[in-house]
């Protein structure tokens, strides 16, 4: 029971991070129907941006309050990652609209390689460990020497995720931008005819997805305390799995899928074997794509000739 509770807490934390990344995949797929393969690496770059600015703020500028530093880092990472994603869309994806079907995916794979190797060259191939930023934990129950703990950083991750998702949900449902996004999702040509600036809307979708990935990146850095240039690939694939599992194109689906993937991963490592946890994640990806490509909350896709 204690193990179950502990894994549940860990799973929800991990799932929140996956959910935040998954939204980027699901929105981009929803609006232009491409798998943004580089999104996982955008997440990794955002973790590096967070690391760099955390160090700058705490060591150079001498900000003693960790809470303030983290808040500033979060804002900076969101802005700069959004900028990065905007440039990527502008350079590597926009010219390919209307090209042959696999072109954007191949370009995105190229971009993913560029990002991870750029970070390797610019920041070095080694792991980057940071001192723990938030240490305190709350002991929930403590029986038979196995303490179930809920750490402050887990609370921060869950709360931040919940708040940002609410804000995001509001943007997509209630603002003109969200309306334009949903219009582009349904019919891009018609939306353009009705005066929606399609290019701008798509760019902003990329920026929003990247900003949420930056939140995930900052949280990831705070949670694990270490980041490496190759850290984008596996979380990226898992988040994509989450997006597909939840139903690609659906925002609540992405969050739900993220939580499910996080829980499956932690329970798998807790009860079976930690060696095969990535095998489990990749197997779920394959099984979901093959047997239920519409996901839990998605609409079935009908192919038109």
């Amino acid at each position: 029971m204690e193990i179950f509770l502990q894994q549940l807490i860990n799973g929800i934390t991990l799932g929140s991070i996956y959910g935040l990344i998954a939204i980027g995949y699901t929105m981009v797929f929803g609006i232009i129907g491409m798998v943004n393969f580089a999104h996982g690496d955008v997440f990794m770059v955002s973790a590096f941006i967070a690391l760099i600015f955390f160090l700058v703020l705490t060591t150079w500028l001498g900000i003693a309050s960790v809470a303030l530093a983290l808040f500033l880092v979060l804002i900076i990472a969101m802005v700069l990652t959004g900028l990065l994603s905007w440039s990527i869309e502008r350079i590597a994806y926009r010219p390919l609209r209307g090209s042959f079907r696999l072109a954007p995916l191949i370009s995105a794979i190229g971009m993913s390689i560029v990002l991870s190797n750029f970070i390797q060259v610019a920041q070095g191939p080694r792991n980057k460990p940071t001192p723990p930023m938030v240490r305190d934990v709350i002991v929930l129950t403590d029986s038979n020497g196995y303490a179930v703990t809920l750490s402050y950083k887990q609370i921060i991750i869950m709360v931040t995720t919940a708040v940002l998702l609410a804000a995001f949900w509001y943007v997509v449902q209630k603002t003109p931008l969200g309306r334009a996004q949903r219009a582009c999702e349904q019919d891009r040509k018609m939306a353009a005819l009705l005066g929606v600036n399609v290019d701008r809307t798509i760019s902003l979708t990329f920026v929003m997805g990247a900003a949420l990935a930056a939140v995930a990146g900052t949280m990831y850095l705070m949670y694990y305390g270490v980041v490496n240039f190759s850290d984008g690939f596996v979380p990226g694939v898992k988040a994509f799995t989450a997006a597909v599992l939840g139903g690609i194109g659906s925002l609540p689906g992405a969050v739900l899928g993220g939580l499910l993937i996080g829980l499956i991963e932690t329970f798998w490592s807790g009860y079976f074997s930690i060696d095969y946890k990535d095998v489990a994640a990749f197997s779920i990806l394959a099984i979901v794509l093959i047997f239920m490509p519409q996901g839990i909350l998605g609409r079935p896709e009908v192919e038109k000739v």
Binding site: L55, L96, I109, N117, V237, V279, L289
Partner: protein, 461 residues
């Protein structure tokens, strides 16, 4: 009158606009490269992470971006706009009428490939030729073969396979394990490895039959990763990430390449040198690659090859015309995988060591990049792309003067994948069909059509 009209329709470069664009690009570049390049995170003596200021390099990059953007805005884009973006039908007809020199080039290239070791040996001697035959010749040819094998799946059948390296791994591990445990020779195990890989191709191909496009690519990626992770974790069989070492070498029909009395050097009364084995391996991989090419070229002219190309163009139309898409896809997967299996067993025999490290996703990405850069479906294009990308990065390592320019820590190996990625993106933007684009259907009714296949949108196959 006409002169003024002419002048207004083609104005000189708009420097003000270009400068504005360049400034914007510079601000964006500063935002991205400023922190990521200008602030380096490093560990100091007491293992604490510190930030080192390296704004100078960041500013150099920003300056390059601004200059590039200025030139693009001022000169390149207006000219491109004036010339018209898309090739017209008239151009395509011209291209169709041009005499086909491909065959001639292919023959010349083939001759060069066969003479390459002889030329290198006669220029540099046996010892000096080692590096050129091994690092360049064999290394490039392995990728040429993998590229041609994947070309069947991606280029001909239009199925983007991101897990191709898994079949390469199956071939390598089949050879390594069977050769060590059952003491079988390379020549017996080469077909066995091919068959095993083809079998895996069918096993992994079967569940993905219903998928297409992006989803197919992602599932094959997942399969590739699963196979690699199983190789790492199934320690009893594969020795985990430590890998399998001392894999037997290839023999020339029973004649080993070593110092023993039965060895190649003694038998032919030659001085001992490891160059013979390398040259032998070179010809072996050349023949294997040519086998791949030969089979592909022949299959293209058979019903199955036509079916692959039809599948690439439009799957729905394919099915409504009565083509069995299941068999078509599975044969593409199986034959592509078989050649990866051959290449894998050659790789294991050449290295004498295999570990899961050699079969990471990046390796798949490199092979896909080669096929894409070469132009999907074009054999010569793939070979040229493999030579350029693999040989180019090997050459980069040779250029010692680069160290003088960029400092002693400059390691071109690091930039290898960066260049690969940039080339992939660049090619997709400028020439989505690759260096040598060949989407001309090999089958045509009565005569070649005036409109080239490259101008027609690809179907949703």
């Amino acid at each position: 009158m006409t002169d003024t009209a002419h002048a207004t329709s083609r104005p000189g470069p708009d420097y003000a606009k270009a400068a504005k664009d360049a400034l914007l690009a510079g601000i964006i570049a500063l935002g991205i490269f400023g922190p990521l390049v200008g602030l380096k995170t490093e560990q100091n003596m007491s293992n604490e992470l510190i930030v080192r200021n390296d704004m100078a390099s960041a500013l150099i990059i920003v300056a390059i971006v601004m200059a590039g953007r200025f030139l693009l805005s001022a000169f390149v884009f207006p000219r491109m706009g004036a010339r018209g973006k898309k090739p017209t039908v008239a151009n395509a007809i011209d291209e169709g009428v041009k005499p086909d020199r491909t065959k001639l080039y292919a023959r010349l290239g083939l001759l060069l490939l066969f003479l390459y070791p002889i030329i290198v040996v006669s220029l540099l001697g046996f010892q000096g030729s080692l590096k050129w035959v091994d690092n360049f010749g064999i290394q490039i040819l392995i990728y040429v073969m993998l590229g041609w094998g994947l070309n069947i799946v991606v280029g001909l059948a239009g199925l983007l396979d991101l897990g191709y390296v898994a079949f390469y791994a199956v071939g390598a591990y089949s050879y390594a394990l069977l050769a060590i445990n059952f003491d079988l020779s390379f020549w017996v195990l080469l077909p066995v490895a091919g068959i095993l890989a083809a079998m895996w191709g069918v096993i992994l191909g079967f569940p993905v039959l219903r998928l297409r496009g992006d989803y197919l690519a992602i599932v094959t990626l997942a399969f590739g990763e699963i196979i690699r992770l199983v190789l790492i974790n199934f320690r009893e069989l594969t020795n985990g990430s430590a890998g399998i070492s001392s894999i037997p070498k290839v023999t020339l029909f029973g004649i080993p390449f070593d110092a023993s009395p039965d060895g190649f050097a003694k038998m032919f009364d030659l001085p001992l040198s490891s160059a013979y084995y390398k040259i032998f391996l070179y010809y072996l991989i050349l023949l294997l690659a040519l086998l791949t090419a030969y089979v592909t070229i022949r299959l293209r002219r058979m019903p199955i090859g036509r079916a692959w190309e039809a599948l690439r163009e439009d799957e729905v139309a394919c099915r409504s015309l009565g083509i069995n898409t299941t068999n078509t896809k599975l044969t593409a997967f199986a034959i592509g995988a078989m050649f990866a299996g051959f290449a894998g067993s050659f790789f294991a025999a050449r290295q004498g060591f295999v570990s899961p490290e050699s079969f990471v996703f990046m390796e798949s990405a490199v092979i896909v990049a080669i096929v894409v850069l070469g132009g999907m479906g074009s054999m010569i294009g793939v070979a040229v792309a493999a030579a350029a990308m693999i040989g180019g990065t090997e050459l980069l390592r040779e250029l010692t003067f680069l160290k003088a320019v960029f400092g002693p820590e400059f390691n071109p190996d690091q930039y290898r994948m960066l260049l690969f990625g940039l080339a992939m993106v660049g090619i997709m933007i400028w020439r989505p069909r690759g260096f040598v684009s060949a989407r001309q259907p090999t089958a045509f009714l009565f005569e070649r059509k005036a409109v080239s296949g490259s101008l027609v949108k690809e179907g949703h196959g």
